[in-house]
């Protein structure tokens, strides 16, 4: 049998002498510093939570983590160079149900018309496997392992150190895995190594308070953690009306599930098309600001791109406002099992009225744009060329709601970069910019191209270009032409697949086919850019270009 090194029992770190010392320490500690208990009658346990710690909501599609808490106070780490970072100790409860469903580990089946579901059963074998595959805050190793009993329940106690390539400084993870009646309940505390000594008593006190309580019902496949299900609907096979109904149903399920997973001290409200989840403790004040912003962006998109995915239903975004950055960070920690349906329409921010609040607004703008385009026309969105995709993201990021309308002002570094580039004669002409492939767009001096693309989009949709007869329809036309070109290419691909293509019979033929295929993909990207450009500007004269470029340069310099 191959040895699983992680199950070696050892007393090298928790030797007999150390075990006695720990026991003594536990006896000496105050019996409890818990002001509250977390109870879970589904898994049948309760545990004391340290005083002042707050509960963090679980992501809607989370399959493994069943509870989260965050310390109210931060610990600081300062490195050798003098840089500091703060960290709040967090607690997670992760459940591993022993019972494995019969059948293959991976199963795919048709679950409806135009729909099939892939089930991946128990992808995490146990807690060490879970940690190995999900932890990404630095290199870690087991510093000690001990077996003991707490309240009659067998427990595996792990002491884990996080030392190499850490983001916020060396960490300590203390995890006790309670083996309780068909479920392993892993209770994990993560703190800074610098703060471990001070917090150790609190952590061990909480872990020691674990108790079993009666379970309601059986833990079965419907409740099982450990099974990840991905449902894929062949949306493009449905009519717009069918898609609308499908999306509305998904939306309803999502809202119900999201609200059901909210801790008691969160507020929620449905406002127009949006669901607001608020923990900012300011009576929805900041949340409303975010909502106003999101609504303004949504309206602007509807008005500016009416023909994109006309008639398609856009799912209601969910806006989640966390109290602060630490809470948002804790919320975002997941097992990686959150699927597309949840986080896909959720916009997570934290209350910040300072400088960082501007980044929150940029983030909101871009997320709303993602949601809108994905539901209106995902294929078109993914096919946006670098100048337009980047330009649009940067442009929409700069938008700020004034009432129901959006204002677009360039960032100061955009203006500065372009002015310097102009002085050095390094500005990129629009007709060159619009034909750059990804490789060329992202090459050296990328910032000039990024800012050029942003200013070009601004010119066309919100600047002088939007009011000029020559250019006011450029962007809608460009998008329409792009859609036509990629649709045509897809039809052509399908037709080519159907015809019998001859397999090569010699190495020379194979090499030739290899070369053609590789070049084809590079050429194809350029072909799309060139064709769309030709369709959009094919009838422009040199004089048209001159007028356009003069007006554009005047707007940016």
């Amino acid at each position: 049998m191959r040895i699983d090194r992680s199950t070696i029992r050892t007393t090298s770190a928790f030797g007999l002498g150390s075990a006695l010392g720990v026991l003594l320490l536990l006896v000496m500690l105050a019996p409890s510093v818990q002001a509250q208990y977390h109870e879970d009658d589904r898994f049948g346990y309760k545990i004391g939570i340290p005083n002042g710690w707050q509960q963090i909501p679980i992501q809607v599609d989370e399959e493994w983590i069943i509870a989260k808490y965050l310390c109210d106070k931060a610990t600081r780490y300062t490195d050798d160079q003098g840089f500091s970072s703060d960290h709040k100790t967090d607690m997670q409860v992760i459940a591993f149900i022993d019972k494995v469903t019969d059948g293959p580990k991976v199963e795919a089946k048709e679950t409806g018309e135009n729909e099939f579901t892939i089930s991946i059963n128990n992808p995490f074998k146990d807690y060490p496997d879970y940690l190995r595959r999900t932890f990404n805050e630095g290199g870690w190793f087991e510093n000690g392992r001990e077996e003991r009993k707490v309240g009659g329940v067998d427990v595996t106690c792990l002491d884990i150190k996080v030392e190499k390539l850490t983001r916020s400084g060396p960490m300590r993870i203390t995890t006790w895995i309670f083996h309780h009646d068909g479920v392993d309940i892993a209770i994990q505390f993560q703190c800074l190594e610098d703060g471990y000594k001070k917090q150790r008593g609190l952590i061990l006190g909480s872990l020691r308070s674990f108790k079993t309580i009666p379970r309601t019902g059986q833990l079965g496949p419907a409740d099982q953690t450990g099974t990840r299900r991905i449902t894929i609907t062949k949306m493009d096979k449905l009519t717009p009306d069918q898609r609308r109904l499908q999306r509305m149903e998904l939306e309803k399920q999502l809202i119900e599930k999201t609200v059901s997973r909210l801790p008691n001290d969160w507020e929620h409200a449905e406002v127009g098309n949006f669901l607001l989840l608020d923990h900012a403790d300011d009576k929805f004040k900041f949340a409303k600001k975010i909502l106003t912003q999101a609504q303004a962006v949504m309206s602007w998109l509807e008005k500016t791109f009416p023909e994109v995915g006309e008639g398609e239903y856009v799912r209601s975004p969910i806006i989640r406002v966390c109290k602060d950055y630490d809470e948002e960070k804790a919320f975002r920690k997941s097992s990686g099992s959150s699927g597309w349906s949840g986080m896909g329409t959720e916009i997570v921010v934290h209350r910040d009225l300072g400088f960082a609040g501007e980044y929150e607004l940029q983030w909101v703008n871009r997320r709303v744009m993602d949601i809108w385009f994905q539901d209106r026309d995902r294929e078109l969105y993914w096919a946006l060329p670098p100048w337009l995709g980047t330009g649009l993201r940067q442009f929409i990021g700069s938008a700020e709601a004034k009432g129901k309308r959006l204002q677009f002002r360039p960032e100061s570094w955009e203006t500065t970069t372009l002015k310097i580039a102009a002085q050095k004669r390094e500005l990129v002409a629009p007709r060159e910019l619009m034909r750059l492939s990804s490789g060329d767009f992202l090459g050296e001096s990328v910032s000039i191209r990024v800012h050029s693309a942003t200013s070009l989009v601004r010119f066309l949709v919100a600047g002088p270009g939007a009011r000029n007869r020559l250019t006011k329809d450029v962007l809608p036309d460009y998008l329409e032409n792009l859609k036509a070109v990629i649709t045509e290419m897809e039809e052509k691909d399908k037709a080519e697949k159907k015809t019998d293509s001859e397999d090569p019979t010699t190495e020379e033929e194979e090499e030739e086919q290899f070369k053609v295929e590789r070049e084809k993909w590079q050429q194809r990207r350029q072909e799309i850019l060139d064709q769309v450009f030709e369709l959009t500007f094919g009838e422009w004269s040199d004089a048209d270009w001159k007028r356009f470029e003069q007006a554009y340069y005047k707007s940016i310099l």
Partner: protein, 499 residues
């Protein structure tokens, strides 16, 4: 206190004192086995079949039955009746032999237990040499070779490049496998080694038992970044030529008998990538290569450029001066890299490269580029079976796959004497996919002969037997695979389970 505890574990009633243990030279340890000594090796007995493991793979094997003396001749039987047994050529009392054997077995078992214990990072070995401070979880018999190699490598490079002395030994973390490297080293994805160039400096690598040559390559590559650092500790070498030179020195080889290090060998894996690019119609431009920031091709085409320049005495001198000049030459403009380090931007690297290599005109650049391209296509060739293996893997897995080429290369690798079980396995998979089950089975048998304890080979062979109609035999092999490695599973077994 610790040794007493360990002894307690060894002697405890349900402790496997009488259990057989198999420890392979590549570091794998198998316990809870039933072993039987046979000619040429041991037989490992599983519920679903026996597996022969040849001596050449075995570092240590402990068979409980070893303690018992089995008389074979009449003379031996007569001596046994007198209460005597044979031990190392002498007839001694049976209980004395048993005691001596047990002591020896306990010692060997302890050595294996130590190896297991030290595979945990918290119990890692630590050893200091002249230039390195090692922390490692690989078995000592594997470690010693790499330890000596690194010292020679360091000395050789330091001498040639006139590296100033006085640096404290560099911490080198050497993990027993890739998973441990990623987990403890804290890095994910395609990274297979790294040098931490800000304080505290540290080098992290792992031992790949399926490709020890790659382990060496990565070790030399990452150590080269450290050596580059020692040229000027306040300077961070830009991606080109830093990675390219590291790749160049990555292909080094040490002859322990001659005590000689040979550098600048062929990086066959990189050469294959270049050849794939050329097949796809891409020839890298000299200027594009050098002016790019953090381009992947610095590892491939960049290596080939370094190899080309270092192979010619005239260019070698200029290139060496260019490399060192990036850190020291006052005419070169440096920028702040952060962390108290300076570096040079790609445009400036290009300017310096042209100056040092005397490329005063665009025609000079073109000429050098042509020479370099010709060098790649005419002088750089695959040499070893390992190179052909890599080429075969690339041809079969790069899109679009080239199966005709891949098969030829697999065959050439085998003809060159490949001892890599994965080569046979992948060739078998390819042929199986094309319907040539018989040939595939032959190859799987060869893979198993090279590495008899690899579960994947049995599962694959079992599936192939299913296709041939030998379903029961096939299922048994799949069950054997799962016995051998409980974490192994194969999704598509429809050929075995469908009617």
């Amino acid at each position: 206190m610790t040794s007493l505890i360990l002894c307690f574990i060894l002697l405890a009633p349900n402790n496997p004192v009488d259990e057989d243990v198999l420890c392979l030279k590549d570091g794998r340890i198998y316990e809870e086995l039933k072993l039987e000594r046979v000619e040429g090796g041991v037989k490992a007995k599983f519920t679903n079949g026996d597996i022969f493991v040849p001596d050449r793979l075995i570092l240590e094997s402990i068979v409980a039955g070893d303690v018992q003396f089995q008389p074979e001749t009449d003379e031996e039987k007569a001596m046994v009746e007198k209460g005597l047994v044979l031990y190392e050529g002498e007839w001694i009392k049976a209980n004395k032999r048993d005691r001596l054997m047990k002591k020896r077995l306990d010692g060997r078992r302890q050595a294996i237990l130590d190896m297991k214990e030290h595979s945990l990072w918290r119990n890692r070995y630590k050893e200091k040499t002249a230039h390195f401070q090692w922390e490692y979880t690989i078995p000592n018999h594997i470690f010693e070779e790499y330890r000596d190699l690194m010292e020679v490598y360091f000395t050789d490079f330091a001498k040639k490049w006139k590296i100033p002395g006085g640096a404290s030994p560099l911490v080198v973390c050497f993990y027993h496998d890739r998973d441990a490297f990623h987990q403890i080293g804290g890095i994910k994805g395609g990274v297979i080694g790294y040098f931490r160039y800000v304080e505290p400096w540290e080098l992290n690598i792992f031992y790949d038992r399926t490709d020890p040559a790659l382990t060496e390559d990565v070790m030399f590559h990452e150590a080269n970044h450290y050596l580059q650092k020692l040229i000027d500790v306040q300077f961070k070498y830009p991606h080109f030529p830093g990675e390219s030179l590291a790749e160049y020195y990555g292909a080094s080889s040490y002859d322990p008998k001659k005590k000689k290090l040979e550098v600048g060998l062929i990086q066959e894996g990189r050469l294959i990538e270049i050849q794939t690019d050329i097949s796809g119609g891409e020839m890298m431009s000299l200027e594009k290569l050098i002016r790019a920031d953090r381009m992947y091709e610095h590892y491939t085409w960049g290596w080939a450029l370094a190899h080309f320049l270092m192979s010619d005495k005239k260019y070698e001198k200029k290139f060496t001066l260019f490399f060192k000049g990036l850190a020291h030459d006052r005419k070169i403009k440096r920028v702040d890299h952060g962390g108290g380090l300076s570096s040079v931007e790609p445009d400036e690297v290009w300017k310096a490269f042209r100056r040092y290599l005397s490329l005063t005109s665009d025609a000079d650049v073109k000429e050098l580029e042509e020479k370099w391209h010709a060098y790649i296509q005419e002088k750089l060739q695959l040499v070893t079976s390992s190179g052909y293996e890599k080429a075969a893997f690339a041809a079969s897995s790069t899109y679009p796959p080239r199966p005709i080429k891949a098969k030829r290369l697999f065959q050439e690798a085998i003809e060159k004497g490949s001892k890599n079980s994965l080569t046979y396995h992948r060739f078998a998979e390819m042929l199986y996919g094309e319907g040539d089950t018989e040939k595939a089975l032959e190859l799987w048998n060869q893979a198993i002969a090279l590495d008899p304890l690899n579960a994947a080979f049995y599962a694959a062979k079992g599936k192939a037997l299913g296709r041939k109609g030998q379903k029961e035999e096939g299922k048994k092999l799949v069950a054997l695979a799962q016995e051998l490695d409980p974490e192994f599973y194969q999704i598509d077994l429809s050929e075995l389970f469908s009617d």
